[in-house]
């Protein structure tokens, strides 16, 4: 029966792709939210993501906290780091720079500065070497499915959390009062300010949510990967660029679909294709999509037109 192991392997690779897509989703949601509503392409998002993994490592390695409290503290820490950038830099740039292009550039550079500082903190505190939370905080177990395929409990958790976060964010933006304020600010910050929306509060809370989502992704990935280093954040950031472009900036649903699409494409290349071209997939997708459909493949409901 030569077909059976191949089928089992294919199922396993499909599971792998879905788990990878879920991590990408969690990572990209926050980035998309910040860009879609506040026009901030936050290049520190990858650094914040690693920062959360580092916080969990720091909080759990002496056994001070267990998994869930460490996760919450790390998410708050990641959110706070992002809010710090908003309060120290983005806020001033948004209100003082008359020209949108100038503001965009300055926010990019300010967020690069933020990423450098956060990376430096993590790398100095970890001796610039690999780190990861101890395995005792989350006992990873594998459940066997048919054939050789299996899925671990942390992978199940990642998929469930990613789906919940995506649905939750989508509903929050669409339905809640706060979400309507976010959309209003995205559409026209000046008018919504005149209409009584507290723009700076909306900006701060949006950036907090964006950072906390990066933190959530960072902690779950740290537990799943076991070992990481500062450079990992940048790799996710570059992939997330592709997700935003393919999915359409500001679209939650687009980002989710694009994340799974890219995960499946990259997994397929690793499983069946020329593996060393894996990095090229995301960049190629960015170019192709921008050439064919600059508004993104799935862009329909957006916070704001691009």
């Amino acid at each position: 029966m030569p077909g059976a192991p191949a089928a089992g392997e294919m199922l396993q690779q499909l599971i792998n792709a879905i788990v990878f897509g879920s991590v990408l989703t969690l990572f990209a949601l926050g980035l998309s939210l910040a860009w879609g509503t506040l026009d901030v392409l936050n290049l520190a998002h990858g650094a914040v993501f690693i920062f959360a993994g580092y916080l969990t490592y720091e909080l759990t390695r002496q056994g001070a906290l267990s998994f869930v409290p460490a996760l919450i503290v790390s998410m708050v820490g990641a959110g706070a780091a992002t809010v710090a950038l908003e309060v120290l830099a983005f806020r001033f740039i948004r209100t003082r720079f008359a020209n949108k292009r100038q503001a965009e550039l300055s926010m990019l550079v300010a967020s690069i500065g933020g990423a450098i500082i956060i990376d430096q903190v993590v790398s100095n505190e970890t001796g610039a070497t690999t780190f990861g939370p101890p395995s005792s905080i989350f006992k990873v177990r594998e459940y066997h499915l048919t054939g050789s395929a299996g899925i671990t409990n942390i992978q199940i958790l990642i998929v469930v959390v990613a789906v919940l976060a995506a649905v939750g964010l989508d509903q929050w933006v669409r339905r809640s009062r706060q979400g309507r304020a976010v959309r209003a600010v995205a559409y026209d910050p000046v008018t919504s300010g005149l209409l009584g929306v507290n723009v700076s509060f909306v900006a701060i809370s949006t950036m907090f949510v964006a950072g906390a989502l990066a933190g959530l992704a960072g902690v779950l990935l740290a537990v799943n990967l076991r070992a990481e280093e500062v450079a990992v954040g940048q790799d996710y950031l570059l992939t997330a660029f592709a997700i935003l472009i393919v999915g359409g900036v500001g679209s939650v649903r687009g980002a989710v679909l694009a994340a799974y699409l890219i995960a499946i494409a990259e997994t397929a290349v690793v499983a069946y294709g020329p593996t060393q071209w894996r990095d090229g997939i995301a960049f190629l997708l960015i170019l192709l999509v921008l050439l064919v459909r600059p508004q993104g493949l799935f862009a329909k409901a957006q916070f704001q037109r691009a």
């Binding site: 292009r101 965009e104 550039l105 550079v109 300010a110 690069i112 450098i116 060393q276 960049f283 170019l287």
Partner: protein
């Protein structure tokens, strides 16, 4: 006599630093000329990679004369740059930026996997040193003069018009597309020059040389220095090459200080550091006319200025 001696000894002590700055200045010009024309393109870094491989391989493998190899590399990139500008003609702002970043990184992936040409992960090493600092210096002067001319006169005004209001420019029968292509091609050529000189001066090319770090560095140079003028790009190239080298002496937190400086400048000095120089210059010249000062400082932050709304 004394001064000449001290200048030449200062030069001898800092030759490598000066070489780095000159090459980065060309790269910064490449990004600046695009940004100033309203094109948020970072493709200069990709052409830096292509230019370095083209010139390096032509000199090393084909034994071409240096001048010919550099010209060939620059022309190749001009052609590729034009093709890329045609492909990306519909894109604006951050979308264009991300598309060009994807292009740059794709160049790196191709370089890494095209081992028969580039040496793949082993890189291209042992390129003969074939340019002098003086050649690069003259090139930078020439590029600066060209950019200065582009900032003035009809071309300069047209480019500003294209940047600030495409519709208006079109209605004045400006061929917007042609101007954008021109800026894109010049940007590609400057990037290629920087890469070619780097390969021919520092003798080795790695596929990872022109990665995301170089994109970030080039962008930062131009924004921190000020992208309204070539002088800003030059200032950015000088400071961002020199400061990290000096800062390493403060030990393991130097990077954090560097990051903090970036945030402060990006947040509080919209026109880049060059605008402070302009303000200072005007202040010392026109003390008696404070009303000029305000207009002066606004003009120093170019996009926020000129066409106003």
């Amino acid at each position: 006599m004394q001064t000449i001696a001290s200048i030449s000894s200062w030069y001898a002590n800092n030759e490598t630093l000066i070489q780095e700055i000159l090459i980065y200045a060309l790269l910064a010009f490449s990004i600046q000329v695009a940004l100033r024309s309203g094109i948020f393109s970072l493709a200069g870094v990709g052409f830096y990679a292509i230019g370095s491989y083209a010139a390096g391989l032509l000199v090393k493998e084909q034994a071409w004369p240096t001048a010919l190899a550099v010209i060939a590399a620059v022309l190749l990139c001009a052609l590729l740059g034009w093709a890329l500008s045609v492909l990306l003609v519909r894109l604006r702002d951050l979308y264009l930026a991300l598309a060009t970043v994807a292009f740059d990184l794709m160049v790196g992936v191709v370089a890494l996997n095209w081992s028969s040409l580039t040496g793949g992960p082993l890189g291209t090493v042992g390129i003969p040193i074939s340019v002098t600092t003086l050649t690069i210096f003259i090139t930078v002067l020439g590029a600066a003069a060209m950019l200065a001319l582009m900032q003035r006169g009809t071309i300069g005004r047209t480019l500003v018009a294209v940047r600030e209001d495409e519709q208006l420019a079109r209605s004045l029968s400006v061929n917007v597309r042609r101007y954008r292509e021109l800026a894109f091609v010049i940007s590609s050529m400057l990037g290629a020059l920087a890469g070619a000189y780097h390969a021919l001066l520092f003798t080795d090319i790695q596929a990872t040389d022109a990665g995301f770090e170089l994109i970030v560095l080039a962008l930062t140079m131009v924004v921190i220095g000020g992208f309204g003028s070539w002088t800003g790009a030059l200032l950015g190239a000088i400071l961002l090459t020199w400061i990290p080298i000096e800062l390493t002496s403060i030990g393991q937190w130097w990077d954090a200080v560097y990051g903090a400086m970036m945030i402060v400048v990006a947040t509080f000095i919209p026109g880049g550091l060059i605008s402070l120089v302009t303000i200072a210059g005007r202040a010392s010249r026109g003390r008696a006319r404070p009303s000029l000062l305000r207009r002066g400082s606004a003009a120093a932050a170019p996009p926020a200025s000129s066409s106003g709304a």
